[in-house]
Amino acid sequence: MQDDNLSKSAQREVDLTLLKAVARFDQGAVARLFTEYEVIVSRYVCHTVPDIGEEDLQDVVQETFIGVLRSSGDYRGESSLSTWILRIAHYKAIDALRRRKVVEKREETIEGMSSDEVSFVGDASADVEEELVNEQDIGLVRKALASLPEDQRQALTLRYVMGMRVDDVAEGMKVSRRKAELLITRGRASLKERLAELDIRQ
């Protein structure tokens, strides 16, 4: 546990140093930040805006990093850098949802979505546990996730898709640890129900 805290504190130091350089608009630091965090931002945005097209994804990722650039001077290392960046990505993704009025239409859209639409950047050749997890499973889970209330979807995305610890989920959502645990538990129950419904339909 002590080692864990030490490595966490060391990582925060690295994050702070990087963000200080970004706050000076150092081109090398900006490029490094983008290279290190682009994939996790893309993953998060794809799960928050389930039917997002590649062009819109590019816009949201760009807006997120420009947001990071502009507020880099505000980062104090109170949460991990990835959590802090994903918080900005969340607002940008929600903005994108609002712009496209997907929030209001989501229920109808879910029915018409194909798994291809949400996995366009996925690696078709990925063979990780192919026997157990296939594209249909992933498509089904994404559809189910997309239908959950926003806070539950965000909690499950941060916890399981992004692989964050509960503490980081709480930091990322700016809620207490207990509230984060509650959202994850409720989210899992809702997801299970939704998966069962979708499975029956298919």
Binding site: F25, Q27, V39, E54, V61, R70, V133, D199, Q202
Partner: protein, 431 residues
């Protein structure tokens, strides 16, 4: 789908399996495509550069402001009392107060702008901004501009003034137009719906009221202003009198001297002119110019000062023709003459007629693991294509490239083209 459903009905009750699918769904998103990633990174780096420049400017302004405010330290203010407080208030008002009058004009280019501010009791003053790259910067009446690069001022009616680098001018406070202190401006004026044109250029030596659509004004070393029209007519006024200047004429303005319209030095255009040098593969070189309506354009041999050719302008002053055949190289000057008036001669223009195809030779053809290496030599300024692909030519005229073997099964075609457009082609057949 049936096997998925059969398995899923049990699997979705297994939280571990669901968590694994969620994690896997994240892992399978690899981010943006390479092209989009590069586009975002470029946008990000551009934004970082912009923000850094903006911050540097803000810091510079703060340093300047602190320098000004540093004069009014608390101890100094205490020693000055009410007088110090008043001085501070007046300074702040000068810097940030007063009103500005929109001029419905915008500026693009690199320029330093002095903002004109208007206060009570008819008071006016200027606050200088450091030189900056400006895009659609809103100008106000009385603003003064020092052009660092070529600067374009666009008025709301579409009229444009293009100022050359180094030009200093001020927008008129009460009407459309400007005061030219130094440099050169080219004005293209859009008439109002009624056809009426209201645009005035003033200088220290007189004023010009446009009656046509396009005219140019410049200041010279002796502080006089020369003015001429490209199209239409311009009214020129000094304290000693006024005249109208038409297409192909220019007038020199000086205080106390009545302006006189003279023929302007012709500006002759060639299709392939580069820095005063014209290279052509045809001995008869085409050109165009606009001079005084009905005037004669005289082409002089710059070496002998003899007349090389003459051309007569039409009723609009326009000439579009070809020069008599030039053998090899000729250096020419241009002037115009009409009814006893003759303009000065233009700067010399070198005409080079090159009918010879460029020299081209292949010095090496060698098969290698990556393909077929081709090396050769041509003229210094020629461009070379090997199987349709452009190859860099070194200053000494040599070139070298590798043709992929699959593209060179039967033959390799090498083409050299000189600046006059002459070409030489070699087809290298492969064994």
């Amino acid at each position: 789908m049936s096997n998925t459903s059969a398995r899923s009905s049990m699997s979705w009750n297994n939280d571990v399996f669901t968590e694994r699918v969620l994690a896997e769904s994240g892992r399978r998103i690899l981010g943006l495509s390479s092209a989009r990633r590069i586009m975002v990174l470029q946008a990000l780096l551009a934004e970082a550069a912009r923000l850094r420049a903006a911050r540097a400017r803000a810091e510079e302004r703060m340093r300047w402001l602190n320098g000004v405010l540093g004069v009014f330290t608390p101890s100094r203010l205490r020693s000055l009392g009410a007088l110090g407080a008043c001085a501070l208030l007046i300074t702040a008002y000068i810097l940030f107060g007063g009103s500005r009058i929109p001029a419905n004009a915008s500026l693009s280019g690199l320029a330093a702008v002095s903002e004109r501010r208007f206060g009570p009791l008819g008071l006016q003053w200027s606050v200088a901004r450091p030189a900056d790259a400006l895009q659609s910067y809103a100008l106000h009446r009385g603003d003064e501009i020092l052009a660092v690069s070529e600067v374009t001022i666009t008025f709301s009616d579409g009229s444009q003034t293009v100022a050359r680098p180094g030009t200093r001018l001020r927008l008129l406070a009460a009407e459309a137009g400007l005061v030219l202190f130094a440099g050169e401006v080219a004005n293209t004026i859009t008439p109002a719906g009624s056809g009426e044109i209201k645009f005035r250029v003033e200088s220290a030596h007189g004023s010009m009221q446009v009656k046509g659509t396009s005219f140019r004004v410049r200041t010279e070393a002796d502080a006089s202003v020369t003015e001429y029209t490209d199209q239409g007519r311009v009214g020129v006024t000094t304290t000693a009198g006024s005249i109208d200047v038409v297409t192909g004429e220019q007038a020199r303005l000086a205080q106390g001297v009545a302006p006189v319209a003279r023929l302007q030095v012709p500006r002759v255009s060639f299709a392939t002119s580069v820095q005063g040098r014209v290279v052509s593969e045809q001995p008869r070189v085409p050109f165009s110019t606009r001079i005084f309506p009905g005037a004669t354009l005289i082409v002089h041999d710059a070496n002998t000062n003899e007349t090389f050719a003459t051309f007569r302008a039409d009723a609009t002053g326009w000439i579009e023709d070809t020069l008599p055949p030039v053998l090899g190289t000729a250096v020419l000057r241009f002037s115009q003459t009409d009814d006893g008036r003759t303009s000065a001669q233009s700067a010399p223009v070198e005409i080079v007629v090159d009918e010879e195809p460029p020299v081209l030779g292949v010095t090496r053809v060698q098969r290698s693991r990556s393909g077929i290496e081709i090396a050769g030599r041509t003229e210094r300024a020629a461009t070379v294509l090997v199987n349709g692909v452009r190859v860099d030519v070194k200053p000494d005229g040599t070139f070298k490239t590798v043709v992929i073997a699959a593209d060179a099964l039967s033959a390799i075609t090498i083409t050299a083209t000189d600046p006059a457009g002459n070409t030489t082609t070699i087809v290298q057949t492969m064994q």
